[in-house]
Structures are given as C-alpha cells and as structure tokens.
Amino acid sequence: MCPKKTGLLNSSYRYPMLKVRKKTHPGFAYGGFLAGFLCLFLVLMTNASSPDRLILGRWEEVDWQYEKVNAHSNGQTLPGQVIEDDARQRIASGLIIHKAEKWQFLPDGTLRLSDGSAIKNAVRWSLKGRGHVLMMQYDQALEESYTIAKLTESEMVLHFHTDIEVRGIAKITFKKIR
C-alpha cells in the first residue's frame, strides 16, 4: 500500500538518509584511523629507502654550480654558472670538503674524503632533520652542514651557503661510483 494514501508519510520515507543507523562508538573510528595511519606508515617506510641507507657508498663530484659568483679582481657579481676549478678550490678552501673529489660514506659514521688517489680527510657524518641535512664533524671542533636537495640511488645534490666569492647557494652534484 502506498504510504501517501495511508498517511504513513514519515521522515525516513521522504528522506531515506535519515533512517536511524546503529551508532558506532567513536573509539572504533579513532582506532580505525590510527590503524589506517599505521598501515600507511609501515607501507611507506618499508617500500621507500631511508636517506641514511641511500647515502652509503662512494660518490664522485661531477659539478659545482653557484647562484652568483664574484668576478676575479673587481668584486663584480656574475650570474650563477659552472666556474673554473681554481675558483672552486678557493671557495672550498675554508671547508672540510676542501680538495675532495671522491666521498665515501661508511655505515660506522665515517666519511672518507679523497682527491682521487689519496685520502685527504676522515670526518664524522650524520643526517639530521628528516634526513635532509648532512652534518660533518672534523676533529670534534669543526662542524659543517649541507642541505641534501636530492638523494637517489645514483645521484646526490648538496646545497650550502658560503659568503666567500659566492652570494647565495652553492650546489655540488655527485654521481655514485659503482
């Protein structure tokens, strides 16, 4: 029998969505949300490589770039570009990574810096933040930090700020040595 004719019109007939639903305790919703988050977290963590694993191994410098560079003598600032080796050495002269061309990250926290043939420096390395900052410590006194702009299985890009000849960010690109 049609409800309209019998006068049995009610809210649940007109608005089926308003039918009384069995109430769920909010604890189940919260528990479900947390369980869902935990699953997502575990999936992401197990499938993605952690930066402290990706960074391990031998890396070779392939490129140095700068936002802006001082011209040699008159102090004029030029737009960013790849610069000559001697200028690169002058800029890096105050840094731990001075004259380093090959970097080897070891799992025990040691970083071996070499110029291709002999080891120049052995420093301590660690990652900070969410794995986006590379810290280097030399002789427990000198400390430097570099921002990891990119880190993949084969390529690493480091950024750092320096005011020696360079205005802004300097960018070092590495390729992994197999």
């Binding site: 992401l44 499938n47 952690s50 933040g129 986006h132």
Partner: protein, 268 residues
Amino acid sequence: MLRKFSNSRSLKDNIRLGVLTAFSAGMVNVVTLIIFFAFASNVTGHYAILAEEISKGEWYQVAVVMSWILLFLIGSFISNFIIINLNRRNAYVAHALPLLLEIACLLTVGIYGEYSYQGTLTETEILVAFMLFAMGLQNGLTASISNFSVKTTHLTGLTTDLGILFSMFTQRQYRTNAVLVGKAKLLVAIAVSYLTGGVVAGLLYKQLEFKVYYVVSLVIVVVILYDYSKLRLLRLFGRRHRNPLKQTTQPLASPEHELAVRDVGELV
C-alpha cells in the same frame, strides 16, 4: 594559572599562562632546531614540507613528517581528553597532568640526548617526534583551558590576530574597547615571550647542549607549582569562601564550552 577554566579565567591568568608556556615553547623549538635541524612546533611548516615531499615522491620523508604531524595532533587530543574527563573531579590535576606528560617527554629527550644519542637519523626522527608530541600536549592544554585564547606555539595565527587588532585600533571605538586591548596585550606578551625563550635557548645551548631540556622542564614545573602553592595558601587562609568573581577582571569571550561558566570557588 592552571586551576581556572575557560571563561572563569581573567586576562591576568591568561597572560601568566601564555608568557610562561610560550617561553618554554620558544626554547623547545629553537633548541630542537639547533640540535636536530627540525622544528618542534611549527606545524604549518611541517604541512608545507609534507606537501613538498609528496610532490617530490620522497615517501620515506612523507612517512616521517606525517607521523610528526599526527603526534602533535595526538598530543593535543590527549591533553583535552584528560581535561574534559578529569575536570569535574579535580581541575588542578586535570590541568597539570598534560604538563607532567610534557615534562616526561622533555626529560626523556634530555637524558637520552645527554647519555645515549649517537646522532643517527632514526634517533633524530624519534626524538623530534617526542618534542612534537610534547608541544601538542602543551598547545592543547593552553588552548583548551583558556577557551582558545592562548595558543603558545601558533605564531601564524597570533600574528594574523595582531595584524587585525592593530588595524582595528586605528579607530577610536576599538581602541577604547577593553576586551580588544586585553587581547592585544595577551598576544604581544606571548609573541615576546616566545621570542625571548628562543633567544635564551640559543644562548644556553652553547653551554648546556641537551641540558637545555632540563631548563625547559623547570619552567613548566614553575607553571605547575605556581598554582599548587597558591592553592595551599588559599586553603591555609580559608580564602575560598570569598566571592570568586571578584578575583576575575573580565571574560575574554562568550561561553562556548559546557564547563565554561564554572565557579572559581568550586574549582578551588
């Protein structure tokens, strides 16, 4: 500072609470940034970083930042959960408990950092997570008991509110409005205190390193003990029979919470 709830709180109560908790939040944020290169309370920034990492497809970092944000949320959840469930039994305990949990987090990070920290990425991520949880607890507590007037780690909202208030003060009718002036005083006090806390932490870090977290714990202990000592004095001198409304100056907002209009004397 901690005993009163929502609209029974005076401007003075909120300024006291805001100044001390913002000072500690500033300290925590700066020292965490110096040691771990991550913000402990800048959740807006973490959302931006999360979006950036998603767009770059850096899923490990996505998981880490997402869990930091969730822990801040859980901290705030637990804080308010404790308050709404224990407030009727003992307001002081309900309000002090989140701060005790915060102290536990701070001491955990301080002690671990001082004696066991090796500087690995996993350690860093877990210790930053502790700090975000602690800041969530603190922000949840201050916002909850002050009827959302005091948010000690939410400087974006605070600066927005200040901008709005300062623009309102260009008109005389708003300049003479005591509630708005009080609100501006509170916000300025929080901002200055947060900044001061950050500077102090930066200076102390050179000498104390991880021990700065003990100093922050001491600041929180002052917040807890201030009201405890006042409670004892009130009980000693029997002042609780006085008209409690005389102790408050003016409400900061209209009652929104069901527990907002409770009598101060009842809480004491």
